[in-house]
Subunit: 160 residues, 6 copies
């Protein structure tokens, strides 16, 4: 529990409780709408257990960043029409390959891409194409993280 934050627990409560909110609390209702919408999308992509663990760990230091990630990233953005869920995860893999510095989040989104129905080839091709735009180090580094995900999911047979 954070000593310095009185509002602790709000994100966890939002995430785990069924809620019935008075209509007067319009802001909270809408926020919960965005949050619930985002949580549904995130759970679908990464699995409830992963999302719950992520939210719990991040929530111990900044429940609001955890909440904003769901509300804005998944409620406002990833939930939008105009681009398929697989494509959304592929452009995210492209961005994280280009940034280079966030392997755990890259692995999360490689998993998300596969869960969204992208074929492994599409993930590999996206990372491979980044060699042209972000350079070979970005591409090589991301590809080793893709390999780790493929091994975890049993879709890459590593021969010793």
């Amino acid at each position: 529990m954070l000593h310095y934050l009185g509002q602790w627990g709000r994100a966890v409560a939002l995430a785990t409780l069924a809620f019935s909110v008075h209509p007067a609390l319009a802001t909270d209702v809408a926020a919960q709408g965005r949050y619930q919408q985002g949580l549904t999308v995130a759970n679908g992509l990464f699995g409830e257990e992963f999302v719950s663990r992520f939210m719990g760990a991040l929530g111990e230091v900044s429940p609001d960043l955890a909440r904003f990630t769901i509300e804005y990233g998944y409620g406002d953005i990833v939930s939008r029409p105009g681009l398929g869920l697989c494509e959304r995860e592929l452009v995210t893999v492209a961005a994280l390959t280009t940034l280079g510095a966030y392997p755990p989040l890259l692995k999360t989104h490689i998993n998300g891409a596969l869960q969204a129905g992208c074929k492994p080839e599409a993930v590999v091709e996206t990372i491979l194409q980044m060699s042209v735009y972000a350079g070979f180090p970005a591409s090589i580094s991301a590809m080793t993280h893709a390999k780790a995900v493929f091994v975890e999911r049993g879709i890459l047979n590593v021969t010793k």
Copy 2:
């Protein structure tokens, strides 16, 4: 013409001449295969006139960089199966939005995405999603470049 490069003109020759190469010159034949393949893809995405102008301008200082861009970027990579051409341009738009520093190339690939059959919404959604991963400045800056492309192509009516 470059004073310091004796090999000048190779790229231009490759790009503009029909060629019939002796089989012994295997390396050149294969390079021409990759180059011709890449050129076909690049011409399809950006138009012959644009590609020719780009190759000419870059070729005045580094014909080899111009040639490698076509051979590697389009002959080896963008020509590959496993990811559709629209998707390839979208992940490129994602990368260039994340990098931020290359507006002319970003505009080129927004054009490429549209030429590859992506809907304008898909381009806008890709750039919008980058607000989550690369930040709002990257997203806002790229969106203004997308707007410029849409105006040029007459698919955005700017009301004064």
Copy 3:
């Protein structure tokens, strides 16, 4: 007007109209709460005219990105307690100096910092300190943009 977006005008409407929303439309009410809150903060930092022009220009291509910038950036984040408004603008100047690729937004936030009550020295010191963390090119480039802002505001006398 955008050909490809049916929802055009929502951001403009939110920004310019008084609204009386039915309580059942809880999501919209809350969004308007965040939007109105963000708009107030942004107007205070950058001036109504600037914000309106920014929203108009960006809104022609992506009214949703314009709206999210206000809702998330200023409604959710900059409005928070725990860090003064001048400090918020200084850490933003630090981020934009480090990113390097977005001079117009950097200039906007240098203006914002001054409007938030930061002294010019604090802006200069923030940019100067970035020479240590992001390198001299980032610092030198940002400082010339600060100079342009200071000239525009009449707080730097440029001797010819």
Copy 4:
């Protein structure tokens, strides 16, 4: 000890010995002035033991980089008036969150911010605000490092 550097030990000597330098050695005297000034500031922010360990480890490969870090980073820059020490550490946290690739240095400066009198909320808010400017991955990654620092300092109670 470095085989390839004859000047080894200069930084360590500067750091650990009282010195009385002949006035004719003006350059060394001034360098020592900047170095001593920087060392005092760095020791105050990070603790003598940490600084000594950092200087020792880096000094084994590049005593000059260790020395320049103190002389320029802390003697010339962080020592300046015009921005409070807490604010200097916050803009540094913003820069390191934006860069993303240097977690150990980020943690060092989160510690420095707290030592300079910043409240934990100010650190959290700075990192949270980076979600707008550098993206959520930068913000999420930095926040987990902030959490680790808070745990080490006993200001975050992690429930198992």
Copy 5:
């Protein structure tokens, strides 16, 4: 072995087998020319065992990225005249220090620089100079990786 890639083993085959290719297969012959040329350069810089291990590990997920790294990076680029091999490795060390996010590749190229005949001082000076252009965090981080390489090669005596 990859489930999703039918072309598996091509890179490994290219790397390990003597080949006698029919002249009609011009593309493959030329590719092997570039590959063999690149492999020779890479083996010379990093050692056959390292390159083989790198190619094997990367080849399990993307044999084509492994092959392109050799063909383009070392066959097309590093093999070129106009810049000495030591200088090529130094500008690579500069680039990887600036990028910051790829320590294993940075260490590989610090080894490559030394193998190409650069003195350790030249590596240290290159990394030190990056403090000016990419900032002290980039420089400090890279220097600790240089130290690790120097220790492994026995050219830095670490005193406990």
Copy 6:
């Protein structure tokens, strides 16, 4: 003249006046030593007129950043032994190509590389090699800036 900085003119004075400083002012003497040393190196690389104009323009907003650039960048770093002046400019060109966002400074250092005795081929090869490490957009963008410098120096004949 800056309204907000009382110390204005120090950098200009340091740059343009012969000085005879009392030995008691050890810090200033040493700083002038570093400054004079740096100024000599910078003038040699970029020309007195360019450096004077740069210092004047930057000095109007931050004379201290102008001074630190000379003192640290050129007095402390570029003046060091262990790496030739041409090599120092090449690794700087590599860094600025990788960063991407600072074309004016990149052009300055392409000029500096040529002035330091690097052949144009070495500059072109350095930028070309960055296609591998920082991506083709970085390389293409930097090459067009190199072309502009070559044209200005009359070493590239642009055929219309």
